[in-house]
């Protein structure tokens, strides 16, 4: 599924209408989409709905003072080995600049994972293995072993 800027704004408007996100979150998310589109040199981004639903909700979690746990260490190790990790870091720095604050480490980690997978899909590379199931907790540990 391909996402264009217009589809992103429709999605964000729906979330904003229901009070799930605020205006600043909308603007930051739109800017990140434009930056990512510039980086991958595409007007439309494949399978972007996951990142661009996750990102505004992550920013709202920060607004609401909610915390999430960091992903499992094995995923973090794999993430750092990705050829796309430097670009993912650049994108997270871009978000922090727009947000005018540092993001919590757990949120940054999940954003790195999302961006790496999105860059793999749009620019080639291997998806992070088992990342979808590798959130923290006993079940994630069981699957890992």
């Amino acid at each position: 599924m391909i996402m264009r800027f217009q589809e992103l704004t429709t999605r964000l408007e729906l979330l904003q209408e229901q009070g799930l996100i605020n205006e600043k979150v909308c603007r930051v998310t739109e800017s990140v989409f434009e930056e990512l589109a510039r980086l991958v040199k595409k007007d439309s981004i494949e399978q972007a709905e996951m990142v661009f639903t996750h990102l505004p909700l992550a920013l709202m979690r920060i607004v609401n003072g909610e915390n999430i746990d960091r992903p499992d260490p094995f995923i973090l190790e794999e993430m750092k080995r990705s050829e796309h990790f430097p670009v993912a870091e650049t994108l997270v720095h871009f978000i922090e600049k727009l947000w005018e604050k540092s993001l919590p480490q757990g949120e940054k980690d999940f954003l790195y994972i999302h961006f790496i997978n999105l860059l793999n899909i749009n620019q080639g590379g291997d998806e992070l293995e088992d990342c979808h199931r590798g959130t923290s907790g006993e079940e994630g540990d069981r699957r890992k072993n």
Binding site: R11, L14, Q18, L20, T53, H54, A58, I113, R133, R143
Partner: protein, 119 residues
């Protein structure tokens, strides 16, 4: 009974788990937005969705389209689904359920059991 599978990840695995429990349950996989729309227009009875954080991408569009009062996050990272809370949520009329992908094997059977008991 028809379950629409939205959310962001592991959609096929959720469908397979539902079918493993009860092959007679009708399932359809859609994008999160299309799945939420299917709920809003009465094309499905329940919505299941997974993401990394349980309450984010799994349920966001369902909350936006059918309302927070119909949605329940049943698990989050490091917080497994609780059977009593799942039963209570179904009894209270919740129709859309979000969970983390690593809790799929626990959440789906709990939800199906609770939904069947309630109907």
């Amino acid at each position: 009974m028809k379950i629409v599978i939205g959310g962001q990840v592991e959609k096929k695995a959720i469908e397979e788990k539902i079918k493993e429990i009860d092959p007679s349950i009708e399932t359809v996989i859609k994008s999160d937005l299309e799945a939420a729309m299917a709920m809003k227009t009465g094309q499905a009875d329940y919505y299941f969705g997974a993401c990394h954080t349980g309450g984010g991408g799994a349920l966001a569009m369902a909350i936006a389209l059918i309302g927070r009062d119909k949605c329940e996050t049943v698990s989050m990272p490091g917080k497994k689904p609780n059977e009593e809370k799942v039963i209570e949520a179904v009894k209270n009329g919740k129709k859309a359920f979000g969970f983390t992908a690593d809790h799929l094997d626990l959440a789906v059977p709990m939800l199906i059991k609770a939904i069947k008991s309630a109907n």
